[in-house]
């Protein structure tokens, strides 16, 4: 065993974790190398001193401080969560309103019947300007047999069939 291998095993040796095979070589080097033996004694002595240092105890106020901070955090989290719910509520209401308005706009905007229903009102307004049926009969041969396919045209022409 050389000095480098010895050094790798020093801490295992101190904690009694060197296996039996390595232990023989380790002890042989320990007995024969002054530098490694000095280092080993230094580590053992310093370990003894370091492990005997006083162990500080947590102050009795610590638990109260932790409890207070945990409680504050939980309260803040619940407060943070509340506006989120309110915002979500408002967002849902706004979305519902937009959907309702959109539906009204789309359905209302594409309904052809609405336009058609408005027209008879105008027809009434323009009724005095309707062409005279007798004059039409004179001007258009077979006018009596004409069957305009469009009821709007019929109504515009004042044909009451």
């Amino acid at each position: 065993m050389n000095c480098e291998m010895f050094r790798e095993l020093m801490f295992d040796y101190v904690s009694g974790a060197v296996d039996a095979d390595s232990l023989v070589d380790f002890r042989k080097h320990y007995g024969g190398c002054t530098a490694c033996a000095t280092t080993m004694r230094m580590i053992e002595a310093q370990e003894t001193i370091l492990t005997s240092l006083p162990r500080p105890k947590a102050p009795p106020t610590l638990w109260g401080r932790i409890q207070d901070q945990v409680r504050d955090r939980e309260m803040l989290e619940s407060l943070d969560a509340a506006p989120r719910f309110r915002l979500a509520g408002w967002a849902a209401a706004a979305a519902a309103l937009l959907i309702a308005l959109g539906t009204v706009f789309i359905v209302g905007g594409t309904r052809p019947a609405a336009t058609v229903h408005e027209l008879p009102v105008r027809v009434v307004d323009i009724a005095p300007q309707q062409p005279d049926a007798a004059a039409m009969r004179r001007l258009v041969p077979g006018y009596e047999n004409a069957r305009p396919a469009n009821p709007l045209a019929d109504s515009l022409m004042g044909m009451n069939r």
Binding site: E8, S15, M42
Partner: protein, 203 residues
């Protein structure tokens, strides 16, 4: 590790896991029990790393609040104590590095007095002198080396456990420990050489 008398490491692990499960299920007493098991260890490690009692108390508070927040994410793949030390030591190292950048930590540790032991007064003075010398020397180490000294000699963690906590190899743990000892040597050598001489001088 926090172990009751005659409790095996497996029993300690199972006890902690059961407390974590109870906490996750909403039992508020479970966290208090975990705190009771580890408060001194967390506080002592923080004190060794940052070097001032008031700061260590602040740090221990932050560490336990963080643990309370993250406990629901605990995966039961490692010991609770390893998980806790990882959070505690990393938090303390970060804080110490932050303070060290402002060049204050060594003065703090050197100033920190160890608590009075229950020994008779004539022994107390001598022991306190040694403790202060050693604590002053430990204060001269880098944050990483202070952390490893705290985990090994204050908490009594094995090399494997230290490696898990610091997320480094066992070889790195041993190298850092060796470096820590070599750095401490000229500062405290006289303390144990004196003892050795006295022991050798006795009939």
């Amino acid at each position: 590790m926090s172990q009751l008398v005659d409790e095996s490491p497996e029993e300690a692990r199972d006890r902690d896991w059961a407390l974590v499960r109870r906490h996750v299920e909403g039992d508020r007493d479970a966290f208090r029990q975990l705190y009771e098991n580890y408060r001194d260890k967390v506080y002592a490690s923080a004190l060794r790393i940052v070097g001032e009692a008031a700061l260590a108390e602040d740090l221990a508070q932050e560490i336990f609040v963080k643990i309370h927040e993250e406990l629901r994410g605990f995966k039961f793949e490692s010991k609770f104590s390893t998980w806790l030390y990882r959070i505690a030591v990393n938090h303390a190292i970060n804080k110490a590095n932050e303070i060290e950048r402002r060049g204050r930590i060594r003065e703090r540790i050197a100033r920190e007095q160890p608590p009075p032991p229950d020994d008779p007064p004539h022994l107390r003075a001598a022991d306190r002198f040694v403790d202060e010398r050693v604590l002053g020397a430990v204060a001269g180490l880098s944050t990483k080396l202070r952390a490893i000294i705290a985990l090994r000699y204050l908490e009594g963690l094995s090399y494997g456990e230290i490696a898990d906590v610091l997320e480094v190899s066992i070889g790195t743990v041993k190298s850092r420990l060796f470096l820590a000892h070599e750095t401490l040597r000229p500062m405290i050598q006289d303390l144990y050489e004196e003892k050795e001489e006295k022991t050798e001088g006795k009939p």
